[in-house]
């Protein structure tokens, strides 16, 4: 590509207009004497409008603009895991080395370490017919994750030569008969979804260890979920819990326009956390993208694409990937900011008219697919939404809700009562249970769906009763309804509340969740019997074994004890009949 040079005509914040070049849409260009990275987002007569990924102050009209001929791409290969990138895949660790603790500009950094040698094990051999997406070899990238080196999309042929050994990511490890050389690294434009054969209907749950999510509002592998909530309602904690505990093999965490200290917390905490599924540090399966709120806004816009492209790449290897984007509202605001600099006609609340189609395109990149190699892989996307004032009638929330299949609605009122996770059980929903029920019956318990229905029904009844209580007080209710209130309180305080910061309570496996739900229903049954037999509600509720069941969830080995405690509770409740 011959270098075509133009000149800067105008600068307004992150938006720069150039003349004298004829780039393609979304082509990457170098702006100014410092060669800042930018992307063409509008063509207008002989003017090209560029969003610049770095701070633009001090740049003057008349400085050069150079075409690169490429669209914004990420480097994919061994070395992605355990990394933390900014929005355009520059490793933050490298940036620290070159510019110190504060991010200045004009520094390029490769997404992958091009010098590091990896042990490549060829799994295909000479003479094999390979197509795009076929795995030709593996690299043990981290202790737990085997990186599968694939034939890049668009290439195929018969292997002429392939060799195992130590290579860096750019060295050729395999040659095809037409002369195509394949290295461990491939590049892919972030705004284009990576190819696959077909999408499956999701029928396996993504298990998160969070009781309210797994039990009441489950997400399927390859599914999409939105978490809207006002500030302080626990979006970030919920996202981090999912990143820590979900049973995906790979986690991509995008901190998009969020707090710097929060990302640091994730960075310092993750290396010390142990993955309950593998027993190895969680960082081994994680890639992070951090474009904090004060980092350049155009790079924030790009960050979600960078993240999802990396997620798709691991999906293509046959892995289940979970992607968390915190927060998609900041991404939407970045679009709004750029759009207003372009003086585009705004849609609702100043957001560009293409907001909802961009959101849809992004979530549509999720899914459980048959990969080009014929394996199963999935990308589940969980997007946090930060609606202004907590009012979800705004465009980003609404645009998200139209697409996602799971809605975990965070509630400021619950957060104020320190009910965490503050997910409102009345307004939240999941469209997956039907598709997943068979899996629960086969793997957890045959009556799992029925128990779930019973628990949600109780919560629904409670909500109705509470309306009456608001008017007349709970003492005015008949005793069976008072009991229902107690049972519902138990569901809320014992089951739905879960302490993310408690070593034991932070994760409950599905079996335990099921047992806990059964314990609540057992209490209800026993209590009904006892009350019919003349016991008073107060003493039934206060039996020691029930308190032990409720407090016990914070203790190690609870799983082994709970069944016994439930039996004990039954005895103690029956005994209350005799007291009277």
């Amino acid at each position: 590509m011959s270098e075509e040079k133009g000149l800067i005509y105008r600068i307004s914040g992150p938006v720069v207009t150039a003349v004298g070049i004829t780039p393609r849409m979304y082509e990457v260009v170098r702006v100014g004497d410092e060669g800042l990275m930018g992307e063409v987002i509008e063509l207008h007569g002989d003017q090209s409008v560029i969003q610049v990924y770095e701070e633009t102050s001090g740049i003057k009209p008349g400085e050069p603009v150079v075409r690169t001929g490429q669209t914004l791409s990420v480097q994919l290969g061994p070395g992605l895991l355990t990394q933390i990138y900014d929005g355009i895949q520059r490793p933050l660790e490298d940036l620290e080395e070159t510019m110190g603790a504060f991010i200045t500009r004009g520094v390029d950094a490769d997404g992958l370490d091009l010098k590091k040698k990896w042990e490549f094990n060829a799994t295909a051999s000479k003479g094999d017919e390979v197509n795009a997406g076929h795995v030709i070899g593996t690299v043990q990238e981290t202790e737990t994750i085997e990186h599968r080196v694939m034939v890049p999309p668009g290439k195929s042929g018969t292997i002429k030569s392939i060799k195992s050994g130590k290579f860096d990511v750019t060295q050729t490890v395999c040659t095809l008969d037409d002369g195509t050389e394949i290295a461990m690294m491939q590049e892919w434009p972030v705004r284009t979804p990576r190819p696959f054969v077909r999408k499956y209907a999701p029928d396996v749950p993504l298990i998160t260890g969070q009781r309210i999510l797994d039990f009441l509002f489950p997400l399927a592998k390859g599914g999409t979920a939105g978490i809207p909530g006002p500030f302080g309602s626990g979006k970030t904690v919920t996202q981090q819990q999912l990143a820590k505990w979900s049973d995906a093999q790979i986690v991509v965490y995008i901190g998009c326009g969020e707090r710097g200290n929060e990302m640091t917390e994730v960075l310092t905490e993750f290396p010390h956390l142990i993955d309950p599924h593998t027993g190895k540090p969680l960082m081994n399966r994680t890639t992070m993208i951090a474009n904090t709120s004060n980092m350049p806004v155009a790079a924030r816009e790009a960050s979600v694409y960078t993240g999802i492209t990396i997620a798709e790449y691991f999906r293509d290897m046959g892995y289940d990937v979970a992607l968390m984007a915190d927060s998609t509202s900041r991404w939407a605001e970045a679009m709004r900011e750029i759009s207003s600099r372009l003086e585009e006609m705004p849609g609702e609340e100043g957001y560009p008219a293409y907001l909802s189609s961009r959101l849809a395109e992004f979530y549509e990149r999720a899914g459980r697919v048959q990969t080009l190699a014929g394996d199963d892989g999935s990308v589940s996307v969980i997007g946090a939404v930060s609606p202004p004032g907590g009012d979800i009638s705004e465009p980003v929330s609404q645009g998200t809700l139209r697409i996602v299949k799971v809605f975990w609605g965070l509630d400021a009122g619950l957060a104020r009562q320190r009910h965490f996770p503050a997910i409102n059980w009345l307004s939240s929903y999941s469209l997956y249970p039907q598709a997943l029920d068979q899996w629960y019956r086969d793997n957890i318990a045959s009556d799992f769906p029925e128990i779930r229905t019973e628990i949600s029904a109780l919560l629904q009844v409670e909500a109705e009763l509470q309306e009456i209580v608001q008017l007349v007080g709970s003492d005015a209710l008949p005793i069976d309804q008072q009991l229902t209130l107690e049972v519902a309180r138990m569901i809320r305080e014992f089951f739905l509340q879960q302490n993310a910061f408690h070593d034991v309570d932070t994760y409950s496996n599905l079996k335990l969740q099921y047992t806990m739900a059964r314990a609540i229903l057992a209490f209800q049954d026993e209590a009904k019997k006892a009350i019919a037999g003349g016991a008073d509600l107060e003493s039934v509720v206060n039996v020691q074994a029930r308190t032990d069941i409720m407090r016990g969830r914070f203790e190690e080995g609870y799983e082994d004890r709970i069944e016994k405690l439930v039996k004990e509770m039954g005895k103690q409740i029956s005994a209350t009949m005799e007291e009277n």
Binding site: I103, E262, T264, E337, R418
Partner: protein
């Protein structure tokens, strides 16, 4: 740079000056305007192209005419920084206001400030004791945090900010805080209140003040906090100070932002505030923190008054999404005569968990805080119910919680303006004493082991 002086102004609109120019001018460059009567004004380039330059004038555009000379200084806005900033009072544009000599700079620092690489940050986890129970117990502050005070007109947020500035200390350390105080559009009266208090307590010589008052140019407010933060960064990261930045009032800052946006005919976001207000605020708030390998720290206390006491207004709303929690001042408590009228229910400190517990404050802190919170929240909710059905309809548990809400407000929240409670004996023990008003069987948020150890009447020793 000597630079040419242009007399090519075409339009003047609000605080903006549009001119045709002949040479390339950099985005963000500093501009000097010389009026026909010799007055000098300063500005900054907001938009630049081959044909036209838009300059935002800090002092306002009154008396600017087509003959006004405009000079581009070839550099972005910089603040002369040195250790001598401590003890000085500067105006909103960084010039001495105390009659003292000009600052002899060690360095000319770019006031926009670069983003701290998240990888280079250190997690804030040193508890700051403010001596105010409501904050220390329920919304604990840590060094490097940004914790705004959400207040409203007529509430004592200034007293609280000053009490924090006076009492803030790290438990078990002699390190003092240097206060950088940034006033944006506050009245002379409020300003005097701050200065007198700082003088009275001898804190003034440990402070640097940047002052833009209500009658100072509104557009200048857009740079005042940037100057203050630049000074803070220099003191913290070059001279190892622990800096406490108090800025008031963020609402005035945002008004100025809206003014510029309107003058540029930008597409407005919510309530006329510019769509980039989130990013703009983030560029201030995110300058709090700790950096690996540096001893100093920046802790921020922005004060903002919520228009119409509305927490969903864009200013508190966007702030809340960036800052690490908020301290909410309540008119209801204030009217009950309770100082400090901090409503702990909507208040929050996101970094609290990292800063409290064994070895930092006390092992039972988290449990106690959760329990206080839950009990007070339920008690307050019951007040609404009692107003309808009367106390008779309540059961024993509810009655206890109802009473507890009053006790909590009167004995826990309430303290005097110079009462400095220590976290252990002062605050947490007090909390335990008040919790004896509730039967332990209702205290479900407390681990049994803390009840055994700390409960005044039920502990096992």
């Amino acid at each position: 740079m000597s630079g040419k002086e242009y007399r090519t102004i075409t339009d003047v609109k609000g605080p903006l000056v549009f001119l045709n120019k002949t040479e390339p001018v950099a985005y963000g460059e500093i501009v000097q305007l010389r009026l026909s009567d010799g007055t000098m004004k300063n500005g900054q380039v907001l938009d630049t192209s081959d044909d036209q330059v838009i300059v935002q004038v800090f002092e306002g555009t009154s008396s600017v005419d087509r003959q006004t000379g405009v000079k581009f200084l070839g550099d972005v806005f910089r603040l002369p920084v040195s250790k001598d900033l401590v003890g000085r009072i500067l105006d909103g544009a960084g010039r001495p206001r105390d009659g003292g000599p000009a600052i002899v700079p060690d360095e000319m620092a770019d006031i926009i400030g670069a983003a701290i690489n998240p990888y280079s940050r250190e997690s804030p986890e040193s508890f700051i004791q403010t001596g105010i129970s409501a904050i220390d117990a329920c919304t604990s502050l840590v060094r490097g945090q940004k914790l705004p005070i959400f207040s409203a007109a007529g509430l004592p947020h200034n007293d609280i900010a000053l009490q924090i500035a006076r009492q803030a200390k790290l438990v078990g350390s002699d390190d003092d805080f240097v206060v950088v105080f940034c006033a944006m559009g506050i009245t002379a009266e409020e300003y005097n209140f701050f200065v007198h208090d700082l003088e009275r307590t001898g804190a003034l010589e440990n402070s640097a003040l940047f002052v833009n008052l209500a009658d100072d140019p509104a557009v200048e407010r857009l740079i005042t906090p940037r100057l203050a933060l630049t000074a803070a960064e220099y003191l913290a990261f070059e001279h190892d100070y622990h800096v406490l930045v108090i800025y008031t009032d963020m609402t005035n800052y945002c008004e100025s932002l809206r003014q510029i946006g309107a003058a540029r005919e930008e597409v407005p976001g919510r309530r006329g505030y510019p769509g980039y207000m989130y990013t703009d605020l983030a560029m201030l708030y995110e300058r709090a923190g700790l950096v690996k390998g540096k001893k100093g720290s920046i802790t921020q206390f922005p004060i903002l008054t919520m228009p119409g006491d509305d927490i969903t207004h864009p200013i508190p709303d966007l702030s809340g999404y960036i800052t690490e929690g908020q301290i909410v001042i309540s008119r209801e408590l204030h009217q009950k005569g309770i100082y400090p009228p901090i409503n702990v229910l909507p208040s929050l400190s996101r970094l609290m968990n990292a800063g409290i517990g064994d070895g930092k404050t006390r092992e039972d802190h988290k449990s106690v805080s959760d329990q206080l919170y839950a009990a007070y929240a339920q008690g307050k909710e019951l007040r609404g119910l009692v107003a309808i059905v009367g106390e008779d309809a309540l059961n024993e548990r509810d009655l206890q919680l109802l009473k507890f809400a009053d006790i909590f407000e009167n004995e826990f929240l309430r303290q005097s303006r110079d009462e400095d409670r220590s976290i252990g004996e002062g605050t947490l023990d007090l909390a335990w004493n008040l919790l004896t008003n509730i039967d332990t069987k209702y205290l479900v948020r407390l681990d049994q082991k803390w009840i055994d150890k700390y409960h005044p009447t039920e502990k096992k020793e």
